[in-house]
Symmetry: C2
Subunit: 145 residues, 2 copies
Amino acid sequence: MIPIRGFNQSLPMMLLKAREAAMSRFRPMLRKHNLTEQRWRVIRVIYEHNHIDAGELAEKSFLLSPSLTRILRYLESEKIVLRSGDIKDQRRSVFRLTDKGKEIINKVAPETESIYSDIERIFGSKEFSKIFNLLEKFSCKVNKQ
Amino acid sequence: MIPIRGFNQSLPMMLLKAREAAMSRFRPMLRKHNLTEQRWRVIRVIYEHNHIDAGELAEKSFLLSPSLTRILRYLESEKIVLRSGDIKDQRRSVFRLTDKGKEIINKVAPETESIYSDIERIFGSKEFSKIFNLLEKFSCKVNKQ
DNA sequence: CCAGTATACTTAACATGTTAAGTTATTTCA
DNA sequence: TGAAATAACTTAACATGTTAAGTATACTGG
């Protein structure tokens, strides 16, 4: 009967729970706008960059390319983003927001900010920045390669 | 042109990255044993409890019941877990590990502990317990209801 | 005792996660 | 220059996440 580290002592589990605690506050709102967390990430990143190719988009939105392919297909079909080919490198696709995409930003961004503020207030902004810095260090150090 | 909180300042993103940094160290090992992260969570929880019903299993393994249903179907088909009905309440199913399931524990648990120790050493055990405590607080406070 | 409600799953449907393999366009370098 | 290696996706296949609806059993109040 091997003793196993209990789940309450597993850091990956704690990270999952913390993330779920936060995301459960965003999801219902996003859902009202027909957005998933991932779709919203993609829209945000395109907005921040104005135009961006799929590779960089995957990196910045922290999505694997097969997921991104599907999400972009959806966002294109809904005319939220526009795809155009890169002239210099025909392998690349470049994406930008349509007017509809920009409208979504205008509607959704304030709501996410408000929820974000709630979380910061509930947890305490001092603790908030502490956990933030620790998480950053953790990602840097623990990441392989 | 609304200014949006950058991704580098988004706590949910930081939590995701930190978790990914950790999990990328476990996944290749689990894969060699034909396990996913979630299958391993389920096996661990059943082991800890000896026998457990699906409801409690979902809670402890932090899986939604539709996912759990599918995972248990797989683990049953591989004869890693055994399902039996609860006599007092015919709605419930009770699960326990088979000998094959226990063998998996014996093989995999030491490997996960070793990876876990690596992470703790790389990050520093002092920082480790700090982040741990902060995450716990965060989950408690931010969780709705 | 029984109609109404609640509980414990299971199914369904769609979206994303994960790995491997495929396709087309660019680079590299012999 | 042209075959081989790379790069930038896309497809495929299977697993899980997420919400809503379905099914069977247990409970509860009148």
